[in-house]
């Protein structure tokens, strides 16, 4: 369609459309009355109401009116512009109108959904419509700018979601920076023993993916590293990554672990993080046998060659007091470097995938379960390590007192579904608790009691898995555990009593057990708030990263070019994390393969004649888009960097900054419109 070139002094002709949205809007707003009212307003040529404006016939209605009634402005009163602004701009453009001559009015989220008085909601719909009708004549035809996109991708977090997204993108030929905070990738999944519902071993399926992520030519794997700064915008993010010193030169280390064998500490002595402190390691160690990268690291807090404690800047001081048998063992490989410091890498990427994962609920917050008080109370992740062949007991389920448990209680919903801790259902605990019940029984032949509130096993194969575990003869007791305390009749064996109501038989149970396993829920990572700020994301009230739309844009964020994968967005199991990681990779690829970004032309510009060169706008710009032209003594806005936040516009003392789509006359007309009297 040939663009409509507005003639000089051509009168403004507005087409107005109010959407029923089924009953979403029409149920609370008298849409016919709104259309009738708007028809009486100045410049309005057409005023209609229609069942679904976003439908194809709805869009065609607008296009037909543009052609037949020579409309040059469109106002659609419907849902949030977040959902359909693009739809209506495109529809208008297809009919030859400049897309920025379209204005949307949100009468659903801002009106019909939140009010209960039909008369007042209808009047509000009229007032909102009036504001747009008064504003839209001032709209100018604007042009969309295209900016090239950097094809590289940053993935933050090397758990299963980050690994899967990285491999998907790398296979498609994109360059990926995979940044992992810990010394190895693998995340929580690497700690699991077997996975439900198939009971295949977690590492058997994960380690090939870890290994290919570690060796893929398109993946820069930066473990023991953290993102420290993010600037820029979609297509062109400047990111600084801090590579923390592991005191081993990654490129030179072969992973032979001869340094570990040679360490002056003959025996492992220090709490082993990977095994949650249940096992021991040396000052120089490989996090776990299948770690990727297969590179050892040195813990400066306990290594004799360092002084104990950190310097104020976080660095460690070398004491050089050790015999350094590790260096000797390393020999010509020369991979050990006690003087390593933080290394900062600056990279440019076009898109970012957040896959920062979760943290398990700290069971000390429910003190009546005795975690951290009674040694035989474990959280579920600890039990995963205890039954894992590569764990501290090589898969032999032995308690801290050296005994093999004969009776085990598994407590569901610890730190989930609870007003006093976390309100959400963590989604995975019922199933992992059933899985642990099976594995504990398999390892020890113990009697296993599962205490649950509601058994939640949705998903493919999950109910069948529940059925299988029930058949194996587990005690499945419907009641939340209220108390765990030592069995005073039992002397010093550490036996505990688990007290709960069996709500299906109406009886209070006090079951003596040797081991209590707490089915702890999933929580946002404590660092999520810092990350949210650094990456300019939104979080839900609970602290999970917020997706752009819970159903239709589940991996997008409100920041263009940043996507979500895995549990950082909310609790989910491995299949869902992998599916989401694939979706995030596809979304990133959709941007990259298009080759350019279309920028909303809502940028600000400076009226050079009026700028006094006071520079007050320059430090205020959050995107450092404003520079100072020394020769002309005027401020200058880089359109490519401007995100249209309007801060400079509001701050300019001489009023010499103008923002497209938000010009003073547009905003003042809108205010006058919304305040104008509407029919009772």
């Amino acid at each position: 369609m040939k663009p409509i070139v507005p003639k000089k002094h051509e009168p403004v002709r507005i087409g107005f459309y109010v959407c029923h949205c089924g009953t979403n809007i029409a149920g609370m707003v008298d849409v016919a009355a709104v259309a009738k009212y708007v028809a009486t307003l100045p410049n309005v040529a057409v005023s209609r109401h229609y069942k679904y404006m976003c439908s194809d016939p709805g869009q065609e209605l607008i296009q037909q009116d543009i052609r037949e009634n020579r409309l040059n402005r469109i106002v659609v009163e419907a849902c949030s512009p977040l959902l359909h602004e693009r739809t209506f701009r495109k529809a208008a453009e297809a009919a030859g109108l400049n897309p920025f001559q379209v204005q949307m009015v949100n009468t659903r989220e801002h009106n019909s959904w939140v009010h209960t008085d039909r008369t007042e909601a209808t009047r509000k719909a009229m007032a909102l419509a009036r504001a747009a009708i008064d504003r839209v004549p001032h709209h100018k035809a604007l042009e969309v700018k295209k900016v090239a996109i950097n094809p590289n991708v940053l993935i933050v977090g090397g758990g299963i979601a980050g690994i899967h997204a990285a491999l998907t993108l790398a296979r498609a030929g994109k360059m990926v920076y995979l940044v992992e905070r810990e010394a190895t990738i693998g995340g929580h999944m690497a700690k699991f023993d077997k996975t439900y519902p198939t009971l295949d071993c977690a590492m058997c399926v994960l380690s090939p993916k870890m290994a290919s992520a570690g060796s893929h030519e398109n993946i820069h794997l930066w473990s023991y590293s953290e993102v420290s700064k993010v600037d820029g915008y979609v297509g062109n993010f400047q990111v600084t990554v801090r590579r923390k010193p592991r005191y081993i030169i990654e490129d030179l280390c072969t992973g032979c672990q001869e340094c570990v064998d040679a360490c002056v500490y003959r025996e492992p002595k220090f709490a082993d993080e990977f095994n949650l402190g249940l096992g021991k390691r040396k000052p120089v160690f490989l996090p776990f046998p299948q770690a990727i990268p297969p590179v050892t690291m040195i813990d400066p807090e306990v290594c004799l060659n360092f002084k104990r404690g950190k310097n104020p800047d976080g660095s460690h001081t070398v004491s050089d007091k050790c015999k350094k048998t590790c260096v000797e063992a390393c020999g010509d490989r020369k991979a050990i470097d006690f003087r390593q410091t933080d290394e900062f890498k600056n990279i440019t990427v076009g898109t970012i995938i957040m896959a920062t994962g979760f943290k398990i609920f700290d069971a000390k917050r429910t003190p009546f379960y005795g975690y951290g008080i009674y040694p035989n109370v474990y959280n579920a992740l600890e039990v995963e390590r205890l039954i894992n062949a590569s764990g501290p007991t090589e898969g032999d389920l032995i308690l801290r007192n050296g005994q093999r448990p004969k009776k085990v209680a598994i407590v569901h919903c610890v730190g989930s579904r609870d007003e006093n801790t976390n309100r959400w259902c963590s989604r995975v605990c019922c199933l992992y608790s059933l899985k642990l019940a099976h594995l504990i029984k398999e390892h020890t032949d113990a009697e296993v009691y599962n205490f649950y509130i509601d058994m939640r096993t949705p998903g493919k194969g999950m109910e069948e898995f529940y059925n299988r575990i029930a058949e194996e003869g587990m005690h499945l007791i419907r009641g939340k555990v209220a108390d765990v305390y030592p069995d005073l009749d039992d002397g010093q064996t550490g036996r505990l009593v688990v007290q709960a109501e069996d709500t299906l038989t109406n009886k209070i149970l006090k079951i003596p057990v040797d081991m209590v396993v707490l089915g702890v829920g999933l929580e946002p990572h404590p660092d999520a708030e810092n990350l949210r700020r650094m990456f300019n994301l939104s979080c839900s009230a609970e602290g999970w990263f917020l997706e752009r739309h819970c159903k239709l844009a589940p991996v997008d964020t409100f920041t263009d070019g940043i996507f979500l994968a895995g549990c950082c967005q909310g609790p989910k199991d491995i299949p869902d994390s992998v599916a989401q990681a694939g979706a995030a990779a596809a979304e990133a690829m959709a941007l990259i393969d298009k080759g350019h970004i279309e920028q909303e032309p809502n940028t600000a510009y400076i009226l050079a004649d009026e700028c006094s060169g006071c520079k007050s706008c320059i430090p205020l710009c959050p995107y450092t888009a404003i520079s100072f032209d020394e020769t002309r003594e005027k401020a200058l806005i880089n359109e490519a960097l401007c995100k249209g936040c309007g801060t400079c516009v509001a701050s300019c003392p001489s009023g010499s900054i103008v923002q497209n789509l938000f010009e003073d006359e547009e905003i003042f007309s809108e205010i006058r419109g919304v305040l104008a009297p509407v029919p009772a």
Partner: protein, 402 residues
Amino acid sequence: MVAQLDPTVVDRNTTLDTLLQTPAGRRLMTCIQCGTCAATCPYGEGMDFSPRLVINMLRRGFLDEVIQSESLLRCVACYACMAKCPRGIRLTDVLLPLVKEQTLVQQSEIPAELQKSLQNLLRYGNPMGESPRKRANWATTAGVQVPLLAQRQSNGPVEVLWFVECYTSFYARGQDNSRATAKLFDALGVDFAILGNEEKCAGDCGQLTWESGLFETLTAHNLEVFNKYRFNRIVTGDAHAFNAFRIRYPMYGLQAPVEHTTGFFARHLPQLRPLLTQRLDRRVTYHDPCCLGRAGGSYDEARALLEAIPGVKLVEMVHHRANAICCGGGGGGMWLDTYYKQKGLERLSERRVKEAIATGADVLAVACPYEVSRFEDALKVVPHDRPMVVRDVVELLAESLA
């Protein structure tokens, strides 16, 4: 974390018929029937209808069956169910007293001990039926001046209106608490006064038992007396009076700040600490009163006071802080011991002292006057090798004064 009581959500006019229309009632609709309340209830095993079932019977319209049973007579208003409820349902302060009230109304026979005590409360203003004219007699034995508010010379408001309460006025062992408190006020130079014989029981157990009418009578009396005088704050050593003043009295107009003696003295610890010079080389375990701990969120104050005493070594029982087991005296339990015995139920005070004995402590410290007599009685029947005494926190503090 466990739930904290928010006094503002309770409405004095709520009845069983209107409950479901209130915010507290709508919470009941969110109950997931997890049974935490039943399993944490110290008498959960003795109830045909546990709190969980009470909620569901109410939601299904079968509450009459609950009222006709005696289940709710076992509720000792210890807040244990409410503290752990994952849905934040207001069991102890809203639902259970309403059901309990109807239960007693429907009973053909009320346990005699309870009936007598409640009658005494109405007639004499104290549950033991002592003469109200003797209420302040203990003050002559305090060893320090205990001023009466009515005889106060100064025109300004008194800083502390000390609400002494019944057990601490009439019972010999209760008076020890009062004498200790008086000594501590005196040592700290606190400007305080008592109401003397004008005071009547604050009525907390009346409210939490069943008798909302009795409670309102006592409230009206005490508020009238409060209105005669000018004072900056109310301090009481009775955890139940503290509970009533904090939660229910404001609904009837009380505005003054209220503190329990443990809170008050903990706030004055910087001034008090130098005065605690007598060493008490004792192993002490502290029993959290329900009305201070779970209901009031005050766990650290009493412990801070105990640890300020030179020589005291604090040890914890298995169940402590939010998970503490009630002494069995709340919600009318104080006057139902015979009834519980008849029903074959273990006295909770005995269950509690067994835990105290297991700590190897010499002293079982308490902060509620009910507990002194309850635990001393229990110690008489529960065998123990090592001698153990029961002392209020203020008694130990006073003992440590030079």
